[in-house]
């Protein structure tokens, strides 16, 4: 049992120097972003971001104390300490301290749950997860028929809106980090959540539950608007599509009809009334294309229509690579004009 007291060999890599450098880089990297939990624009996200910073502070202190003690007793001063002190460390550190701290944290979290799941008032937005896009329907208080849209959600600021969630074929999860937590969309069960934006702006959401081949390519634009702007937008969104204005757009509409796009897509106010794919009535007015993965530009529209598979593997929409560039650009002009 004697054994010589051996000093540890030299560390081939000095972690003491590498780690802080990484930490600093991360802090400098910043926490902002259109999809960041730490850059909140909603009441729930604000509470949770604040909670995170407090918990992070506590965690860092506890980690340093714990591992500092470990390093101290195993490398710096290896003389035996009293068994009584060690016993109290187990009781105090293992039972008393965590029980108190965890009870406090748990109380806060439990009291926060009903707040964040409070029913919304005024507006209900129904979102259905498809493969791999979002069907969005707005139902303001008292309205009979919903306003149908897709791949983008707009919410009024300063008010809690109700969001009901469904899924068509597989499970998805609806999440806009800047506004609040996520809720799964499950076939056969309607789930619900509510969001209370506090700051107008454009954000990004993304499907968070693995939903098949192109799960990575299922995002959505989230636009938070002032109450009045939102009301005006909704009124416009409810109206039928604007008729094409330029020659190119008119020709594009002819291509749209000739290729049978209306079998899957609806453009309200025209013969196109398909329900399989996203509603295109006001597609040109959205911030992005193909569920948040392409910019809303004519060029992107052409790329998408020519070969959706190349952009979103497994997408239901067939490619239209038999169309001439001319036809494609006309089609793009038509769609872009549907604001």
């Amino acid at each position: 049992m004697a054994g010589s007291r051996r000093r540890a060999g030299r560390d081939p890599l000095n972690v003491g120097r590498v780690l802080p450098a990484v930490l600093i880089a991360i802090l400098l990297g910043g926490c902002s972003g259109v999809q960041s939990v730490l850059d909140p624009a909603g009441r729930d996200a604000e509470v949770l971001a604040r909670l995170f910073w407090w918990m992070l502070g506590g965690a860092v202190i506890l980690w340093v104390l714990m591992n500092g003690l470990l390093v101290y007793v195993s490398r710096i001063d290896t003389r035996p300490l009293s068994a009584r002190a060690a016993e109290w460390l187990i009781i105090g550190g293992g039972i008393v301290f965590p029980t108190v701290v965890l009870a406090g944290l748990l109380s806060f979290a439990l009291s926060e749950m009903p707040e964040q799941r409070a029913p919304g008032s005024g507006l209900t937005v129904s979102v259905t997860g498809e493969s791999w896009w979002w069907r969005v329907e707005y139902l303001p208080d008292g309205a009979e028929t919903p306003v149908v849209s897709a791949n983008e959600i707009r919410l009024p600021v300063g008010r809690r809106s109700e969001i009901t969630l469904n899924a068509h074929r597989v499970i998805h999860s609806f999440w806009i980090p800047a506004l609040g937590g996520k809720t799964d969309m499950i076939p056969g069960r309607e789930t619900r959540m509510s969001l209370e934006p506090t700051r107008a702006g454009e954000f990004r959401g993304q499907c968070a539950e693995f939903c098949g081949e192109s799960h990575a390519l299922m995002a959505l634009g989230a636009v938070v608007m002032d109450e009045d702007a939102f009301a005006a937008w909704l009124e416009k969104e409810a109206a039928p599509a604007v008729p094409p204005e330029s020659d190119a757009a008119r020709r594009g509409q002819a291509v749209f009809n000739a290729e049978g796009c209306g079998a899957c897509h609806a453009v309200r106010g025209t013969a196109a009334s398909g329900r399989v794919g996203p509603d295109l009535t006001h597609v040109g007015g959205r911030v992005s294309l193909a569920a948040g993965i392409l910019p809303m530009t004519a060029e992107a529209l052409m790329r998408w229509i020519r070969d959706p598979e190349a952009i979103k593997p497994g997408a239901m929409m067939p490619g239209y690579d038999h169309l001439s560039d001319d036809d494609l650009s006309a089609l793009a002009a038509y769609l872009e004009g549907l604001t």
Partner: protein
């Protein structure tokens, strides 16, 4: 040390019936001091060596001894880990830069599914079982595990299943729905991927449960005399707890797999909402398994730390009782956490609250564990031996993972970070800290035990610092990646959200980790033939595994010692010398049989000398055919699957018939130190009985999961049962219940009358019992078939059919066991005195009759009440 024998009441054991131990126990100091005749010692060693020798040449692969099987098992699990790690590296390459096209979406999805599945099912759990099979007998001074052929069967099953599942990646047909296999995605998935996952891994789960049964029996029945429950090495406590957890955690998944495969193969709509099913039931069953699984991985690794730390601190562990508390407490609490994987599924806040609370509560026992380690190091005089470095690294990483765990256990915070890279970071911190680091530390620590050589100190330090630095470089930034909104399981991401540089850092870190693991792998596998053997007990440990001799003669313990301390090598002077001399129990093998000593569960009083099985090929054949029975259905080849199933059963029956519960040549034998022990026991004193009892606890859990399913549908679905549903026929259900009860009663009575010597009546009863069982099964099928319940139309008839299929399959096993006992009685293998098989069959039927009666009530009575 004071003479403990003074305080103990020494009794001379009386021969009450011929299966009781007789003679003196515990041994006196004078008896232990008596020298062994050197001639005798040599002769004994000769005989022991012959009995425990490995089979020569190619027959080596028929070995079943724990040291061989354990080594193969660990190396195989390690190889699977390297394969799964390689998949991770390829994924990290794909994610190094935004919008990369190194891997296609489909390939990436197959890779992350296989990475998770392989790490969990082919590495983490098997690794625990492998290491335990390798080490546990040594910790307990036993010669071997209680059922060596079962370990071998488990190993070969694991190897076949693992290669089958992993190789699917090479053909591009691997499962691609995530390691959690959520329906409807996974049930609707085209190609054989989902079936490969379900059937391949079910096969491995069965092997895992078999190993767990064996390990539990090993801990409670194969301890050395005197090693009371308060003196067990902590590793044994953890094995006991983890074995129990496997027993209650894996069966719900097996029940889920059963329902899932029924949907895949026969379109029974358990998870199809269109026909009354519910995808959430799978999530519940999966995570009832999945969360305890995390602790099943973590606790054994902590157990390794609990063995290393006292050696490094050069004193007994502080707070042994506290650690036992925390192991048992964690084991329990870990079953109340599963919904924290489902916080975002929209369950009522109240329900989420329970799971959030339990997830926080489990921090307390886990913390106690870590603090007990720190306390031990405080009180001891620490030497930073190589394994201790890994343990310290483990604590540093694990505490960080634990602290983020506290954060995400709060449901509202989890709503934000769930399914993001924050979780990826958290789980890798807990698994590297709670598994990889302690395991590698354990390999460095125990390498001199099983290889009799030392690994390199220098390479070890290189490996440690590369792995530790690389790990933090890879996973620390992922917390931020997740908070900045990056979801998990994405094969690509846009470049303008601020995730790109974080991912690049993580990818670099991943390669640094890989280099560290490679250094370790090189150090582990490099030829060491020119290196000298180590000295015995090179670290100065206090537990029994270091009593093994160098070089190892294969018998494990030369004689099984009488134990009076938690650290016998530190506290019991002359222990080693007496063990080597063969002064203790069963120092000889005069009958040429492999033997180990069986003791009572709590106080480790010797009860029995168990004859254990030796090398065999039938276990490999049994594993091959079991593999066929699971693998053929993957490709919808049912006839060969059925043939394989029958052959597998035949192999198992052959194996049991030829090598278990054999009538001994004499009822009692001299076990040494004046103690005579029975060579055959039946009922609760026999390890086989415990094996059946523990297996059936797991089986009952699987059945309970199906019953949970029925109630789940009732609460979750308004149309369960649907209005105007066709119900099962209550008369047939009642008839089935009566027949099953009669079959059970016949078996139980047969045991009694056989014992009293009335062999003819026993045979008549054992002849009638299988017929009654078959009649019951027929009536049960008629109960659902006659009224016309169509399982493919709705989940209600499907669930009723599932209960019937489950029950009938078990009755099939019960009938075979009854027939086995009847055959045993006729051919002289089962006599009024030697009736262990009949005891085990009766025990099986105790559980079975409960299953049967509940099934009959569930289909015949309950739906009319809902």
């Amino acid at each position: 040390m004071t003479d403990i024998t003074q305080s103990m009441s020494r009794r001379v054991l009386e021969n009450a019936d011929d299966a009781r131990p007789e003679g003196i126990y515990p041994p006196t100091e004078e008896m232990l001091d008596e020298p062994v005749d050197p001639e005798l010692r040599k002769a004994q060693e000769e005989r022991l060596r012959a009995v425990w020798a490995e089979p020569p040449g190619w027959r080596y692969w028929s070995a079943v001894n724990n040291s061989e099987v354990g080594a193969w098992y660990s190396l195989t699990a390690f190889a699977f880990m390297l394969a799964a790690g390689l998949l991770a590296l390829l994924m990290r390459v794909q994610l190094a830069v935004p919008e990369n096209d190194f891997l296609s979406a489909d390939t990436f999805n197959q890779f992350f599914t296989m990475h998770g599945s392989a790490m969990m099912f082919l590495f983490a759990v098997p690794m625990f079982e492998a290491i335990s099979i390798l080490l546990l007998p040594a910790f307990l001074g036993a010669r071997d595990m209680p059922f060596p052929r079962l370990s071998a069967y488990g190993y070969w099953s694991f190897l076949i299943g693992g290669i089958f599942v992993l190789s699917s990646v090479l053909f591009g047909i691997a499962p691609d729905s995530g390691w959690f296999m959520y329906p409807p995605l996974a049930t609707e998935s085209e190609g054989p991927g989902s079936d490969i996952w379900l059937l391949g891994l079910s096969f491995i789960e069965v092997a895992s449960i078999a190993a767990a049964v064996e390990l539990i029996v090993g801990v409670i029945k194969c301890r050395p005399p005197g090693m009371r429950i308060n003196l067990m090495p902590l590793y044994a406590w953890y094995v006991l707890v983890v074995g129990g957890m496997i027993l209650f955690a894996f069966p719900p998944l097996i029940a889920g797999d059963f329902l899932f495969e029924m949907q895949r193969s026969f379109d029974w709509p358990f998870f199809d909402p269109e026909r009354g099913g519910d995808p959430l039931l799978w999530q519940h069953l999966f995570w009832i398994f999945g969360h305890p699984e995390v602790y099943i991985i973590f606790l054994p690794s902590i157990a390794i730390a609990a063995m290393v730390i006292p050696t490094a601190a050069r004193r007994p562990i502080m707070g042994y009782n506290w650690i036992v508390l925390s192991a048992v407490g964690t084991g329990f609490l870990s079953f109340g956490l599963w919904v924290h994987h489902m916080f975002t599924t929209g369950l009522p806040s109240l329900s989420l609250g329970f799971f959030s609370a339990a997830s926080e509560a489990v921090v307390i026992p886990t913390g106690v564990q870590i603090f007990a380690f720190v306390a031990t190091l405080m009180v001891g005089r620490v030497r930073m031996i190589q394994p201790m470095l890994w343990i310290a690294g483990a604590v540093a990483i694990f505490t960080a993972g634990g602290l983020t765990g506290i954060m995400i256990a709060l449901a509202p915070f989890d709503w934000q970070v769930h399914d993001t890279y924050f979780i990826v970071a958290h789980l890798h911190y807990t698994l590297f800290g709670g598994m990889i680091f302690p395991i590698i530390g354990g390999v460095y620590y125990f390498y001199p035990f099983f290889a009799k050589k030392k690994m390199s100190d220098r390479l070890g330090r290189w490996s440690f610092w590369l792995t530790f630095t690389g790990f933090n470089l890879c996973f620390l930034p992922m917390h931020l990646t997740g908070l900045k909104g990056m979801p998990r399981r994405v094969f690509t991401y846009p470049g303008d959200i601020g995730w790109d540089w974080l991912n690049m850092v993580s990818t670099i870190g991943a390669f640094v980790v890989a280099s560290g693991i490679l250094v370790f792998a090189y150090d582990l596998l490099r030829p060491k033939s020119r290196q000298p053997l180590t000295e015995r007990n090179p670290w100065g440990g206090g537990t029994l595994e270091w009593a093994h001799d160098i070089p190892d003669p294969g018998w494990g313990s030369r004689s099984v010692p009488y134990i009076t301390s938690r650290y016998p090598l530190w506290d019991q002077p002359k222990l080693l010398e007496r063990m080597d001399a063969g002064r203790f129990y069963i120092p000889d093998a005069p009958e040429g049989l492999r033997e180990t000593i069986v003791t009572s569960a709590v106080d480790a009083v010797p009860q029995h000398v168990a004859r254990i099985t030796g090398p065999a090929w039938c276990t490999i054949w049994a594993a091959v055919f079991t593999g066929g029975a699971f693998i053929f259905p993957t490709f919808h080849m049912y006839p060969p699957a059925i043939v394989c199933g029958i052959l597998a059963i035949a192999c198992v029956i052959y194996w049991l018939w030829t090598s278990t519960a054999l009538v001994p040549e004499k009822p009692m034998k001299d076990a040494g130190l004046g103690l005579r022990l029975p060579t055959y026991v039946s009922g609760p004193r026999a390890p086989g009985w415990w094996g059946v009892f523990i297996t059936m606890l797991g089986d009952a859990t699987a059945f309970a999961s199906l019953i949970f399913g029925v109630f789940f549908y009732w609460t979750a679905r308004p149309d369960f049962p649907p209005e105007n549903a066709v119900h099962a026929d209550p008369a047939f259900a009642g008839l089935a219940a009566a027949a099953f009860a009669a079959s059970w009663a016949a078996t139980r009575i047969a045991r009694g009358v056989n014992r009293s010597g009335n062999v003819l009546t026993a045979r008549l009863l054992l002849g009638a019992a299988p017929l009654l069982g078959i009649a019951g099964a027929t009536a049960l099928v008629l109960a659902v078939w006659w009224p016309g319940l169509e399982p493919a139309t709705h989940v209600y008839p499907a669930m009723m059919w599932a209960l019937v299929v489950w029950t009938c399959a078990h009755v099939g096993a019960g009938v075979i066991m009854q027939g086995y006992c009847l055959a045993g009685s006729i051919f002289g293998k089962l006599t009024p005195r030697y009736d262990a098989d009949l005891w085990n069959t009766t025990l099986f039927w105790h559980f079975l009759v409960v299953t049967c009666l509940i099934t009959a009530a569930m289909i015949g009575i309950l739906p009319r009440m809902l």
